[in-house]
């Protein structure tokens, strides 16, 4: 092949070799691929892959997407045939002898979820979805669930060990999927750095600095000035807050949005924290901690975050007060 003729890059769209200047070929070098998807795990997904060639970047992208699909079939509560749902139907939800033996991914989640529940004193609770169901039903009738409705569920969640019930690893599962997708892509040949951001939780690997803006709490606007900007390398960030989802209840003619974050210890919707962000080595930990920090009182949350090494946190209280620790401040730009 003449040096002027080179195979066109890209996903096989071109049949004919394209004419290129020879000096352009030598400049080749690493490429950075960016892709934005919607409807990944019910939210938006951003992939950024730095690789030696376009083909290697595409292979890494496919590996990440395949891992996301595979794990969604394990952890999803929306897909009726996910492994988690089959396991729950198999008797785990009712406490009967379970006929389904969890595979390695589900077993990991069950064990780590329990660890986080113990470490956060039930602020992160895999069984908290039972509360969500009460809230959803009540909000559909334009009211807030009463204490008498919540009390039995709160008792079941807070007995030790918790009574059997449906489990939902939402936050933790998303973090785990991000971690696995990121590592899967990073393990492909020729890949130097990877960023996976699914719905606002992200992890990056590789020797590149990544700028991460923390969305301003209390506004949904995509063009609002960020709350903070971080500069990270090989770390994960997760943010938890009531900005985008919640329970709408019309009260005295005015619609009020109750945060979708429910305190498993009281059953109440969280009011004192607007948003909590966590930097950690892996996204699963960051996600579980962010959920716990948005439920705990800010002082307790800060203490909890500081009990882990290499962990940063920012807690924005409803009063407007910002609390962050040294590891967070060290990564702020």
């Amino acid at each position: 092949m003449s040096p002027l003729l080179a195979e066109a890059p890209g996903p096989g769209a071109h049949f004919w070799p394209t004419l290129r200047w020879p000096w352009r070929r030598q400049r080749g070098g690493p490429v950075t691929y960016r892709r934005h998807y919607e409807q990944v795990l019910g939210t938006a997904c951003e992939l950024r892959i730095g690789a030696g060639t376009a083909e290697q970047a595409q292979a890494a992208e496919q590996a990440a997407l395949a891992e996301i699909d595979r794990l969604e079939m394990v952890y999803s509560r929306f897909l009726p045939d996910s492994e988690l749902n089959r396991w729950l139907r198999g008797g785990a939800a009712t406490g009967a002898l379970c006929t389904h033996v969890p595979g390695p991914d589900l077993a990991w989640m069950l064990a780590v979820g329990e660890q986080w529940r113990l470490a956060t004193g039930n602020a992160f609770h895999p069984g908290a979805d039972a509360l969500g169901e009460l809230w959803r039903a009540a909000a559909a009738q334009d009211r807030v669930p009463g204490d008498e409705e919540l009390a039995p569920v709160v008792r079941a969640l807070n007995s030790e060990p918790p009574l059997p019930g449906a489990l939902n690893f939402n936050a933790l599962a998303k973090g785990r999927i991000i971690d696995r997708a990121c590592l899967e892509a990073a393990g492909q040949p020729g890949v130097s750095d990877v960023l996976v951001n699914i719905g606002g939780d992200l992890r990056c690997t590789g020797p590149t600095d990544v700028r991460v803006q923390i969305a301003h709490p209390g506004t949904r606007a995509d063009n609002a000035a960020p709350e903070a900007t971080l500069c990270l390398r090989g770390l994960a960030v997760a943010t938890s807050g009531g900005t985008h989802r919640g329970f709408r209840v019309a009260e005295e003619g005015r619609e009020r949005l109750y945060s979708h974050l429910l305190d498993p210890r009281t059953g109440r919707s969280v009011q004192h924290v607007l948003a909590a962000s966590v930097i950690a080595g892996d996204c699963a930990s960051a996600d579980a901690l962010a959920t716990a920090l948005s439920v705990l009182p800010a002082d307790e949350g800060l203490r909890l975050a500081n009990s882990f090494t290499q962990t940063g946190c920012l807690i924005v209280e409803a009063s407007g007060r910002r609390r962050s620790n040294a590891f967070w401040q060290a990564h702020c730009v």
Partner: protein, 217 residues
């Protein structure tokens, strides 16, 4: 003002600052090169003075305190995973010049930046803007889990250089495109004054559920 220079050599620099009344008198004079230069200079000066005077007298009231334009739209969500289309939201003033880009969802890596041209109208305005310097680099964002396909931007009445604009007629434009895919553009004229208003223009292409609300912050 009764001073009429009788010959061209008497036209001093000070005369150039004189009013258009004098310029009218000059027109009747015979054509010479110096005369032509002097007249052209006077005309240009007159135009400049006139324009700035006009601009000052026709100045609209400043942006109403505490008002903002809240824009929501949805990019149609098919079942299953799909690539986000390129989208841009911006504001044009009454003359059709783009004054503020509110949101741009696109890949800005050098290899894919060419597809920005698919956002036809936005990129045309962007070329004019770029001539004045400054594009933006998109970073990644950590936020509470967002709803797929739903977007929200807020306009605070400032242009791309952060200067507050006057009240008046503006056009909100939402544009979405794909590589070799459908293209859609929604335009909504808005008379932004002191009173709140709400418009729900018809969708186009993949853009649906557009709601523009001018409201108190």
């Amino acid at each position: 003002m009764t001073h009429f220079p009788t010959d061209l050599t008497a036209l001093r620099a000070a005369d150039l600052n004189d009013s258009a009344e004098q310029f009218g008198a000059e027109l009747a004079r015979p054509q010479t090169r110096r005369g032509f230069l002097a007249r052209t200079g006077l005309a240009a000066l007159g135009l400049m003075v006139g324009r700035s005077a006009l601009a000052q007298t026709s100045k609209a009231p400043a942006w109403a305190e505490g008002m903002e334009l809240d824009v929501n739209f949805v990019l149609k969500t098919p079942a299953g995973r799909y690539n986000r289309p390129y989208a841009a939201v911006w504001i044009e003033d009454a003359s059709g010049a783009s004054v503020r880009t509110l949101g741009l969802w696109a890949n800005t890596t050098p290899k894919s930046v060419k597809y920005l041209n698919e956002l036809r109208r936005w990129s045309r305005g962007d070329q004019a803007r770029r001539a004045q310097g400054g594009g933006d680099v998109v970073t990644t964002v950590s936020s509470p889990t967002r709803v797929p396909g739903a977007f929200n931007v807020v306009w605070d009445g400032r242009d791309d250089r952060k200067a507050l604009l006057p009240q008046g007629n503006y056009t909100l434009v939402v544009e979405a495109a794909r590589e070799d895919g459908p293209y859609g553009r929604v335009r909504q004229e808005l008379a932004l004054g002191g009173a709140p208003l709400k418009k729900t223009p018809e969708g186009a292409g993949e853009i649906t559920d557009v709601v523009a609300e001018y409201r108190r912050r």
